[in-house]
Each structure stands twice: as structure tokens, then as C-alpha cells.
């Protein structure tokens, strides 16, 4: 067993885990944060995307032990004080989800895209930026619209991000 300790959604979390425990297993099984999903075995689908120290990663491909000391944000940690994150709101506003299974990973990846590319995203940038996330329901049309709106609103909320 190996001891891991990290901050998840701003709260300290620690446990003794089997060394082979993946971050997604730690989140889902130990912390019962089941919003982060597993959709494949090959890091292809992106349903498991979370933020580690501010960067999007696929939590099915990272050992929990390697995140010792990290700041982790999951889909459950986005809404603040009962208010949805602009990207969450944008997904609802634009019908950017159907079954909802890929949605947490899609939202986490989209926020990361805005963090990297800024709030003014054209369609091609969004489509290319989501290549690591598979959705089987929406045909991506409304996801693209949602990400564009979410990006604009993230930019409006924190003008610095636009720079």
C-alpha cells in the first residue's frame, strides 16, 4: 500500500491505496466522486478528464500515487456557491449533452481549452481542441456551440483570461 494525499475540489483527501490504483479509481471508489467516468481502456474517450494542478489530464491513465500533493478539480468542484460554472451553464443552454456520460469530461476539457487558447474560439479551434473527447449522442454540433458560449462567458467573467 502507498499513502496518497491531495486536495480534491479544495478539500484534503488522503488514503492508503494499492500502488496500481488509478486516479479515477481513487476519485470514484475512495472519495465517491462518481461524476468522473470511465468510457474506455485506452485514454481515447476523455470521459475521465479532470484538472490536476490546473491542467486537464485523463485520470484513467494516471496513478493516484503520482498525484500525491496535487490540487485536483473534478466536475463536482466546478459550481461555486450553488452557481454553475459558465461552461456548465453553456452546455445546458445549448443542449450540449444528451445521455450525459461524456459530459463531465467534455466540460473539463473545454475549460482547459479556454484556459490554453483564450475565450475567443472559432469553430475549427473548438473542434480540434476536443479531439480527445468522444461523444456518441450529440454529433458535436451543440457541444461546439456550448464551448463557444462558455468560452465567451469565461472571458467576460475574468477579463484577464482574454489576454
Amino acid at each position: 500500500m502507498v499513502h496518497v494525499s491531495m486536495a480534491v475540489n479544495g478539500r484534503p483527501a488522503s488514503a492508503d491505496v494499492d500502488p496500481r490504483t488509478l486516479l479515477v479509481q481513487f476519485l470514484r471508489e475512495n472519495l465517491r466522486l462518481t461524476g468522473t467516468h470511465v468510457g474506455c481502456d485506452t485514454s481515447q474517450c476523455g470521459a475521465c478528464v479532470v484538472h490536476v494542478d490546473g491542467r486537464a489530464i485523463k485520470s484513467c491513465t494516471v496513478l493516484a500515487a503520482s498525484c500525491d500533493g496535487a490540487q485536483v478539480t473534478t466536475i463536482e468542484g466546478l459550481a461555486q456557491g450553488g452557481k454553475l460554472h459558465p461552461m456548465q451553464q453553456a452546455f445546458q443552454d445549448n443542449h450540449g449533452l444528451q445521455c450525459g456520460f461524456c459530459t463531465p469530461g467534455m466540460i473539463m476539457a473545454s475549460i482547459d481549452l479556454v484556459n490554453r487558447e483564450g475565450p475567443n474560439l472559432d469553430e475549427a479551434t473548438i473542434r480540434h481542441g476536443l479531439e480527445g473527447n468522444i461523444c456518441r449522442c450529440t454529433g458535436y454540433h451543440n457541444i461546439v456551440k456550448a464551448v463557444a458560449q462558455g468560452a465567451r462567458e469565461m472571458g467576460a467573467a475574468t477579463p484577464k483570461a482574454a489576454e
Binding site: Q92, C99, C135, C137, G139
Partner: protein
């Protein structure tokens, strides 16, 4: 129209839990004391099992039990079933081989279920499975659809000589032969409708529980139709009587057909939970989904179209070999027959049709319904024929279609269906305008100037949805009725619970069903909750597939609401001291005709439960009504898809530049949700046409068993879509709904291939038209043009 009423694009009520990570999917569920199941699967496509030695594995840490097919047979548990009887043209019943939940004596495809290991943790179960020794004798594998019935192929099931399950025929051979004999032109095509793997993003999963105190089982599982699952697990497989078996389908992450069926894993978990008296949990890994979820399509077809000198279609012939895989899945037999042959007339007035289908066993995963199920295959036949025939006879493909459209309704096709409403030319006209068909010549020239090839392709699809009139499907072999049920429970405070036998796994029923209730009862949409997916709560239902939830499920709800209104009027009569016949109900208010005496819906609900204003002898207290709705006909969604694309002949890369769809889905409840369904369907259809293809090698190994090897459509493979609708109401249900869930997946593939062949100077290209295939075709096209 109110902001939340019928026809309003209401934002979805269910979204909040999904965008905040608070959904409850099966794998999110854990039960105290649960053990984990892991399946040992066959590495061979076809082999006898000579011996299974689990002695070392049983001693592995954490192992609770290891079961094989012998154990399940010893408990007299039945095999899995196929619920639709098809008769061959000689009158003989289909030849269905046994389908045990765990293999008995023989494995028939890679991934077939050899044993289950149940252990305290999943890792322990996997470790132990590696220690099971199985002695196999390999047999030759049958993997080629076209050759499966040929002489010299290995025999997969003893009951099905030549691996042939049935040889089915629909239509009139003699009349069709005569039409071809007098034809001015005959168009012939040969093609493969490629095998697809559904891949909903949530893999299948099950948590099975046994309560020994009451001898009852509960299965929480990824199902599109929990009541059908309970019926099969109970009445056919015999795990428990229905009143002792609860099936729950909570949030389910997509289905597309693949979660209709009753599979070995869920069956084994349920049986094992009782056996070990502990909850048993199983979740598929993605590769297990690839190997064992029922696949879709996989037809090899030769088709012909007979035209007269004016280009009028006089006859159609189709000869199809349909691969059903190693075992017959739950509804597999119906897909290449009554869901396929019956739609071969397309949107056209075709007087003579002759369709023959041979269904074969192969050493591959079972094949069953996948989004569209038979109808995409039919649409591909007729829409490719229409395209090729138009070009061969020098006619504009849009005008060729228009000339041959069915123009008056009802229209009886020669293949069972009676089209009851539609406006095919109306959809075509609108689509041509939206797509700027007139400007295609200029755009082609602009592409050519850049060294690119531009093409435009049409697909005028029709499908049969609203599954389905029970008597009709019963006469065609269905083992079940396909009505739907709904119950409306009004609470004393006037809030409402709707219980539906349909199941939402992305379709948004919690919103659309609530819209109907809100509109009918005049109450806020927030005051309505929709309950589905639990056999202990909803009395019965047939589930969600075949674009049936709106047309059939909401019709049942509408009927239940009629009864609620009738009862509430009786209550209002007592409360307002007027005769029932004088009560009018509008916008949530009961009014005595010609007076200003009125009372709102919530007050009537309270009065129904307090029962102070009427005696129990004259009126029953309470306000709760249920209804079953059996449709009077199928519904016939139809429309036109136009794909415009550009090929880079240097690389074979295809870029879809414009996508236009004009659909007739009848009345719409929520246009936003309808458009979303169309988007998703098109994506899957484009996936079939350009990207996706399940491939087994000659040994029967699935070489496309991960997202690394099976090309799923991603965001940058697709354009944004231009979607509009026209409306002719369906006359076969009270709401006029036709259904929209499958349209895109049906209409899209031939639109893409027709556009490709247009760009390639009519050079054919098979699906999936990968860059390599397109590059080869482009080279041939250039060479041919030069000759």
C-alpha cells in the same frame, strides 16, 4: 404556445445532474458486501471446450466462486432467447441454435463467455481468471458473411445446416420478374453494408442483489427496456417469477439499440447473486463492449432497379445475406426482415418489389438492432439505386427522385407498409433551397480550381417508427406486443408524477413528457416529475427503441391525461356545485360554463383527496389514472438529407462542407431536442459512411476492438449541420408525432456515398470510405477520365 408547452424548446430538466457530476449510472452504485464478477472469455472464434480446470484459480486470494456453463445448466437456468419468429419462404421456422449464458462444450466467437470469477475485489477476480486452465480444440472459423452458407464452411450450430438461420422472402417475385422483363433500363448494384459497433459511451454494467428474506432478486442494469429484461429473465430464462424480480435502469449513458438486449453477463450476475447470497457487480471494459455488445448492420446485398423509358421505377429486387453472428440476439431475426424488406419502397411509388434475405451464423459477435435497425440498410439499397439509376439514365438525381415520389396518401407499398401521411416533394424543395443546389456548379468549379473534387449527394429516406401496432407485429412473428403504458399520479398539492414504460438514456423524456403534462393540465413544468426505469414503480412498459417513446409513449400519456381531465371535471362539478357537463377545463382552470365560477387544478387535486365534497359512493376519491396505448399504424418519418463534400485527391481526405436535412417528424414537442437527435443520428451515419467498420480477420479475431482501432466520429470529423423540418401530422396517434431518433443514422450514409461518387465521376466506393479507399477511387476516376 407557452414557454414550456408543446412546441417550445425548453431546456432540459435532467441536465443539472449531468453537468454537475451528480448523475447515477450503474457503475456509480455500490452495495455493502458486494463481490465483483469478471468473465473469462474465449480467445478463439470457434473451438470445443475439452476441459476447464479452475482448481488453482479457486485458491487465488479473494475468490468467492467460479462458475462455468455446467454449473448454470445444473441449476436448470434457461438459455438466452430470440423473441421474434421468422419463417423461411418454405414455411419452416427459423433455425435458432442454443444460446447458453455461459458456454457449454463449445465457444462460437472471440469473447464468448467461458466462466465467471467472483471475488472480493475486481483485481482479485482478474488475477484468478488468469489461473483458469481451459483446454480447447480449435475449429475453423466462419467470418465471411457472403461465404458463411457455402459448402465446406465449418458448422456453427447443429440445428442450422449451412449456417443458414432462415431464407426469407417478401414481395411478389413473379410480378417483379415481369416488370424487369419489360424494363427499358435496369440498374444493378452490389455492396456491403458494413458492420458497426454501437459504442454508447457508458459501457454495459450490472449490480445484482438477492434478498434471501423474501427470496427476491434486484438487477440494476444499463437497459433501454427494464420490463422486457424482467420478462425475459423471468418467463424465459427462469431466474425468478416476475413479482420476485425487480429490474432498475437508472441513468443510462446512451444505448442506440445495444442496451435493448438481454445479455449473458447480466443474466449470470443475477443468477450468481442468489448462488453466493451477496451482491455481484460487473462493469464492461471497453474492449468487452467491442467484443460482446451486439453489433449492427453487416449485410451483403445485390440490388436491381427496373425503369421504364420515362425513368419511372417499375420494379425493385434485393438479395441480401445478413450476418447474425454466433448466436441469435434478442430481436436479431426481425432486423434484416420486417425492419428491412418493408422499407425497400423508400419514398417512391414502386409497383413491384421482390426481396430475399438469407440470415447466416458466423463466428462473430451477435448482430442485432443498432440505431435505425434494418431501415438504414433498406434506405442504402433504394437511395444508392436511385442515385445510380438517375446518373445512368442522364437524369438529375433530385428530379429523378421527385418524379418517382409517392404523391398521394394513404399509399400501399408492395411490402406491407401503408404510408399514411407525408409531403416528400415539400421536403425536397426546401432542402434544395437550403443547400443552394443551384450553386453547386460554381462551387464544384471553385474546388476544381484548388485541385479538389467536390460532390453532392442526396438521400430521401423514409422509416417506419412508432413501434408498433401489437396485432400487426404479432402477425409478423413478434413475441411481444409493442403498445406503451403511462400512469399519471396527481398529488394532493397538485404536483404530478408521470410513470412511463419508456426509458430515457439521452432522449430527454424528463423534459418532453413534462411539457405535455404542463400544457394539458396548465401547471408549471417544475411541478411534474417523470419516473421511468424501475419495474417496481412503473407497472409495465416496452421501453425505448425504434423512435417510439414520443409516438407511442406520449400517446399513452395523452390518453391517461384524458382520463385525469375527465375525473377532475367530476370533482370540479361537486366542488363548484354544477353538473359535470357544464364544467370546462382550460389553462389549468375549471370553470362553470357561462359563469365566473372557477377553481384551479391544484384545488381540485386537493378536493379529490380530501373527498369532503362528494360521497365515496358517487365518486372514488383520489386522482390517479393509467392508460395503455396501442398504435393504429406505424409512423413514417421521412425527409431529405443533402451532403456536400470535398475530396483532396492527393490524400483521399474527405471534408464535409455542408450538410442540409429537412425532416418531417410530424408534430414536435421540443424542437431543440429533436434537432439534437438529428445531429447525433447524422454523426453515426457519417461514421458508418466514412469512418467506422468492425473487422474480423479470417481467424475470427476482432481487430477493431478498441477506440485506437475502431474510428469513432470526433468533433473535427464533422461539420455543423443545417437542419429544418416540415410538418405533416401522423394520423396514427393523438399527438401527430412520428419520431426522430433514428432519422439521421438512416438518411446519412447514402447521402455521403452518393456525394462521394458524384465527386469521383461515379466511381463506386465502399463503406467506410476511409482516406485510403477514397484515394484509390480518386486515382481510378482520374485514370478513367483520361481514357
Amino acid at each position: 404556445m407557452s414557454a414550456t408547452g408543446i412546441g417550445a424548446s425548453v431546456k432540459r430538466k435532467e441536465d443539472i445532474r449531468f453537468i454537475t457530476g451528480k448523475g447515477h449510472y450503474v457503475d456509480d452504485l455500490n452495495r455493502p458486501g458486494q463481490a465483483y464478477a469478471y468473465f473469462l472469455r474465449s480467445p478463439h472464434a470457434h473451438a470445443t471446450i475439452d476441459k476447464i480446470d479452475a482448481s488453482a484459480a479457486s485458491k487465488s486470494p479473494g475468490v468467492v466462486a467460479i462458475f462455468t456453463g455446467d454449473d448454470i445448466a445444473a441449476d436448470k437456468v434457461g438459455g438466452l432467447i430470440c423473441g421474434w419468429m421468422i419463417h423461411s419462404k418454405d414455411g419452416s421456422p427459423m433455425k435458432a441454435g442454443a444460446h447458453p449464458a455461459l458456454a457449454q462444450g463449445k465457444v462460437r466467437y472471440v469473447g464468448d463467455h467461458v466462466a465467471v470469477v467472483i471475488a472480493d475485489t475486481l483485481a482479485q477476480a482478474k488475477d484468478a481468471a488468469e489461473k483458469i486452465e481451459v483446454a480447447y480444440t480449435e475449429l475453423p472459423a466462419v467470418t465471411d458473411t457472403a461465404k458463411a452458407a457455402s459448402a465446406g464452411q465449418a458448422q456453427i450450430h447443429d440445428v442450422a445446416p449451412n449456417n443458414t438461420i432462415y431464407s426469407w422472402r417478401l414481395g411478389d417475385k413473379a410480378a417483379t420478374d415481369a416488370a424487369f422483363a419489360s424494363a427499358a433500363h435496369v440498374t444493378k448494384i452490389d455492396f456491403v453494408n458494413n458492420r458497426l459497433i454501437p459504442n454508447p459511451m457508458e459501457p454495459r454494467a450490472a449490480v445484482a442483489e438477492y434478498d434471501s428474506g423474501v427470496d427476491a432478486l434486484t438487477l440494476t442494469t444499463t437497459s433501454q427496456n427494464p420490463h422486457v429484461a424482467r420478462l425475459v429473465l423471468s418467463a424465459f430464462i427462469g431466474l425468478a417469477p416476475e413479482h420476485k424480480l425487480r429490474v432498475i435502469a437508472p441513468d443510462v449513458g446512451g444505448g442506440f439499440g445495444s442496451k435493448i438486449f438481454i445479455y449473458p453477463e447480466e443474466t449470470v450476475c443475477l443468477w450468481a447473486a442468489r448462488k453466493i447470497d451477496r451482491p455481484v457487480k460487473w462493469t464492461a471494459e471497453r474492449t468487452e463492449s467491442f467484443l460482446c455488445d451486439a453489433h449492427g448492420r453487416d449485410h451483403v446485398t445485390h440490388a436491381e432497379l427496373a425503369l421504364d423509358a420515362n425513368g419511372k421505377i417499375k420494379g425493385l429486387r434485393a438479395r441480401t445475406i445478413a450476418n447474425l453472428g454466433a448466436y441469435m440476439s434478442t430481436f436479431s431475426s426481425a432486423v434484416p426482415t420486417y425492419l428491412y424488406g418493408t422499407l425497400l419502397s423508400g419514398q417512391y411509388d414502386i409497383p413491384n418489389i421482390d426481396c430475399e434475405v438469407d440470415a447466416v451464423y458466423t463466428n462473430t459477435a451477435p448482430v442485432d438492432a443498432y440505431r435505425g435497425a434494418g431501415r438504414p440498410e433498406a434506405c442504402f439499397v433504394i437511395e444508392r439505386l436511385a442515385e445510380v439509376a438517375a446518373r445512368e439514365t442522364g437524369r438529375d438525381p433530385a428530379e429523378f427522385r421527385r418524379m418517382n415520389f409517392v404523391k398521394s396518401f394513404p399509399h400501399q407499398t408492395p411490402v406491407i407498409m401503408t404510408y399514411d401521411a407525408g409531403d416528400f416533394a415539400g421536403a425536397l424543395d426546401k432542402a434544395l433551397a437550403l443547400a443552394d443546389y443551384k450553386g453547386i456548379g460554381q462551387r464544384k468549379a471553385a474546388s476544381a480550381a484548388k485541385g479538389k473534387l467536390r460532390g453532392i449527394g442526396f438521400s430521401a429516406y423514409i422509416e417506419a417508427c412508432g413501434m408498433a401496432p401489437s396485432q400487426a407485429v404479432g402477425s409478423l412473428g413478434s413475441g411481444v406486443g409493442l403498445w406503451e403504458s403511462a400512469e399519471v399520479r396527481v398529488n394532493p398539492v397538485g404536483t404530478v408524477e408521470v410513470l412511463t414504460g419508456t426509458h430515457s438514456h439521452g432522449q430527454g423524456h424528463e423534459t418532453t413528457f413534462a411539457q405535455l403534462v404542463s400544457a394539458r393540465l396548465g401547471i408549471p413544468i417544475e411541478n411534474v416529475s417523470v419516473v421511468h426505469g424501475d419495474t417496481d414503480k412503473v407497472q409495465f412498459g416496452m421501453g425505448t427503441y425504434g423512435s417510439r417513446s414520443g409516438a407511442v409513449g406520449m400517446s399513452a400519456l395523452s390518453k391517461a391525461l384524458d382520463k385525469i381531465e375527465a375525473k377532475a371535471k367530476k370533482v370540479a362539478g361537486h366542488v363548484l356545485e354544477a353538473s359535470e357537463g357544464d364544467i370546462e377545463f382550460k389553462d389549468g382552470k375549471f370553470t362553470v360554463k357561462g359563469t365566473d365560477k372557477s377553481i384551479d387544478f391544484g384545488s381540485i387535486a386537493l378536493n379529490a383527496y380530501t373527498a369532503h365534497k362528494f360521497s365515496g359512493q358517487e365518486l372514488e376519491p383520489g386522482l390517479k389514472e393509467g392508460a395503455f396505448w396501442d398504435p393504429t399504424n406505424f409512423t413514417f418519418p421521412a425527409g431529405v438529407h443533402i451532403c456536400e463534400l470535398e475530396i483532396d485527391p492527393q490524400t483521399g481526405v474527405v471534408t464535409i462542407d455542408r450538410w442540409t436535412a429537412v425532416d418531417d417528424f410530424g408534430k414536435l414537442i421540443n424542437p431543440m431536442i429533436v434537432e439534437g437527435q438529428v445531429h447525433g443520428g447524422i454523426a453515426q451515419g457519417v461514421g458508418q459512411a466514412l469512418l467506422e467498420g468492425a473487422h474480423y480477420n479470417s481467424d475470427g479475431q476482432l481487430v477493431t476492438a478498441s477506440f485506437m482501432d475502431y474510428c469513432m466520429p470526433r468533433a473535427d470529423d464533422l461539420p455543423s449541420f443545417k437542419i429544418e423540418t416540415i410538418e405533416t401530422a401522423s394520423p396514427s396517434n393523438p399527438l401527430g408525432i412520428k419520431g426522430c431518433g433514428e432519422a439521421g443514422a438512416i438518411g446519412a450514409p447514402p447521402a455521403v456515398i452518393n456525394a462521394l461518387t458524384d465527386a469521383l465521376g461515379h466511381e463506386d466506393v465502399a463503406m467506410p470510405a476511409t482516406p485510403q479507399a477514397v484515394w484509390r477511387a480518386a486515382k481510378k476516376a482520374v485514370k478513367r477520365a483520361a481514357e
